[in-house]
Symmetry: C2
Subunit: 211 residues, 2 copies
Amino acid sequence: MAGLTGVAEETVERISMYRVLLAGLLQAGIKSVFSHQLSTSAGVSAAQVRRDIMTLGYSGSPQHGYGVAELIESIDSFLDAPDGQNVVLVGVGNLGRAVANYFIGRRPKLRLVALFDVDPDKHGRVICGVRCHPQDRLTEVIRSENVSIAIVGVPAAAAQAVADACVAGGARGILNFAPVALRVPPGVYVENLDMARSLEKVAYFARKAGG
Amino acid sequence: MAGLTGVAEETVERISMYRVLLAGLLQAGIKSVFSHQLSTSAGVSAAQVRRDIMTLGYSGSPQHGYGVAELIESIDSFLDAPDGQNVVLVGVGNLGRAVANYFIGRRPKLRLVALFDVDPDKHGRVICGVRCHPQDRLTEVIRSENVSIAIVGVPAAAAQAVADACVAGGARGILNFAPVALRVPPGVYVENLDMARSLEKVAYFARKAGG
DNA sequence: CGCACACTGTGAACTCGTTCACACTCTATA
DNA sequence: TATAGAGTGTGAACGAGTTCACAGTGTGCG
């Protein structure tokens, strides 16, 4: 389900983080960085940074470190699909709107092309610049719009049906906010992002760590 | 920063997930489960389930498996603080409201006691049943209300300052939605939940996994 | 000119979470 | 009463990701 490419999930996450940091450096007019500088900004070890950059195939020099612009370019070609990827969001509640706002225009290579909701009041409306459709058109739209990624922000009880519909339309990746383990065929990647679970984890370690 | 207790983060997450599943079983009137049943619902291996339950100190029987009610009780005493823990939410945007709605009343042991925002229009208002305060009272309220956990839903640029204020007030755990690595003293646990990073990860693996 | 230094790239060692595999226990059946 | 079967508990093996440690390389300074 995961590292079919030989690249670890954690590595991809960190690379995504580096890109954000590097964008900030570029903005600030900084031309090059050393691994230990990225390391402290990212909160990981310097060796880790070098390893990650190694998986990109990019090389720095001991004298000037890594070129910021070149490294960003290298990350872009690693993370992004050349022609971008289409995304849909299912479930336009508070969470859905938050997610939509979060992404609009931020990642040009990830295009939010449609929203879905069960509420008829929302059908046809344009929210955050994207049209909302009835949820039963999910499979159809995913197929016709060539969508590869679905963000699932519906209640737990509905999540599996939504996931099935997404997969039926040809989606290859699901970002799942519902607190259930989705059942998908091999070749479909699911990332779970359960806030309640995360909060309980924080609560646990907040209690145990020195308190 | 993490497993100071000897218990892995992943284990705590799974235990939290089991509790949700078990609550459903209890609801359905099911009295006992076997590890392989939990395993398929949770999407992990049966051996994993048994290992996790072992860390709880609970024991089942080969004949009847695990008692649902007893196992829940065991998880409760593992995850929850006897007197509960107080939580604040900083940043009442779409995301903040989504989080607030998500939690209200769902976890009696985690009490959302205050909201904070920089927007003066929100000060004094009651949102999702909780009062919103000006953000500069953060440290003070965290201390006076004995808050141990802060949920940070502010923009990246403000997140470090918010985290500092939380730590100054005595918070021991932070659930961070901002896309930055927070700098906190040892003994404070930070969990990062960056949606953009997660989405990019899904995009990457959606592309690589068989497509 | 040559030495000391700082940083990268990377094989090897290590850590730690997961899986394996099996001894043990109890029930059901003949 | 003996036997087959199903499931738990757990030491040991495994494997993936991280860290270590050092060779390689170019710069700057004495």
